[in-house]
Amino acid sequence: MSNRSIERDIAQIALYAALVAALGLLPKISIPIAGGIPITGQSLGVMLAGVMLGPVRGALALLLFLLVVALGLPLLAGGRGGLAVFMSPSVGFLVGFPFAAMACGWLMGLMKEKSVLPSAWIAAALGGIVVLYAFGIPGLAWKAEMSLVDAAKVMAVYLPGDALKVLLTGLIAQTVWRGMPQALLSRN
């Protein structure tokens, strides 16, 4: 790998990590459980990172995001950050971020031959919801000492919002693809 592409990779990974942070810092639309697991705007960033960057770089972007949160920046939705967030009920989701991005990216790669919009939707739904919740719900059950069923019930309230994010991810990916196809690293 030439020097040039390493720097380009780092810059893009840092950019998507910053995007996840920015989405957490934007004021969120009203969510039923105030101060609850605040993964609202951010899982959009997770889906985008995976869909746009592919599995490896997407996962690295999320790992970078988690590292900077761990270092003490309040980048989690709700202005939370530092090591304390890894002791909170949402730790499963946090750990799941890089895996979800990896799944999104891997699926996008699998569907390279298909058109962008449906592939992005499928990738975002399977990665950003199925995989993410596969980490988040057990994490919640474990941390909060609840049963899996109870944890799933609690998280169900976030599904409509996440479905909306899947929709957005596909539309964004497709629009960027039309304007700047080389930005869709998951396909190149």
Partner: protein, 202 residues
């Protein structure tokens, strides 16, 4: 960029980042199996004393727990309706305790020190040919991009509103903001390479 680090000094600030990280890990392992109310209550009091020892206003930092109250309530209610409110109380206490202890580390440690400690901890990876130097670069790049992205999104929002755009269509703003940001990242990558690249940095 705002951070959760507390600028004042205290005895905790003077301890090394690595030592605190290790202590936190050991504390997590030790606390995890505990399930008696009295033990956790005593540990909780000790933690509050630790906060109080952080010079003026240390107790105010306990507020980190406050935004999580809905979660504590939900947890406790599930246990209550499940017939064991005591376990619910224990679970809530344990979580609050761990959050407060972890927060102590964040309060008293500079990001740069913590990053250095983490890089040191990861240094055995160099056997696999992986260097930790790009890590600091990636961290500083990411931190610098955040206000840039926020500004781009806000600029596009204002332009959208000025043109009388509907709120529902606002998602489209992410696209030009993202493309503009990607171009910035592209230039950043190029200028980094021009300056000698990652390997050229000491």
């Amino acid at each position: 960029m705002i951070s959760l680090y507390r600028q004042k000094t205290s005895w905790l600030h003077r301890l090394s980042a690595g030592a605190k990280l290790l202590a936190l890990c050991m504390a997590s392992v030790a606390i995890f199996p505990l399930d008696t109310l009295s033990t956790l209550a005593i540990l909780g009091l000790l933690t509050i004393l630790l906060y109080a020892s952080l010079s003026d206003g240390g107790l105010r930092e306990l507020k980190v727990i406050v935004p999580l109250w809905p979660w504590f309530l939900i947890m406790w209610l599930f246990h209550y309706f499940g017939g064991d409110p005591l376990i619910g109380t224990v679970a809530v206490l344990k979580m609050a305790l761990m959050i407060l202890l972890a927060n102590l580390l964040t309060l008293s440690t500079r990001q740069s020190d913590l990053l250095a400690a983490i890089q040191y901890g990861l240094s055995p990876l160099s056997f696999l040919g992986l260097s930790t130097r790009p890590l600091a670069l990636a961290v500083s790049l990411m931190i610098r991009y955040i206000p840039v992205l926020l500004a781009l999104i806000q600029q596009h929002q204002q332009a959208w509103q000025a043109r009388g755009g509907r709120r529902a269509g606002r998602w489209r703003l992410i696209v030009p903001a993202l493309i503009a940001a990607l171009q910035i990242a592209e230039h950043a990558g190029e200028s980094l390479a021009a300056r000698g690249g990652v390997r050229g940095l000491s």
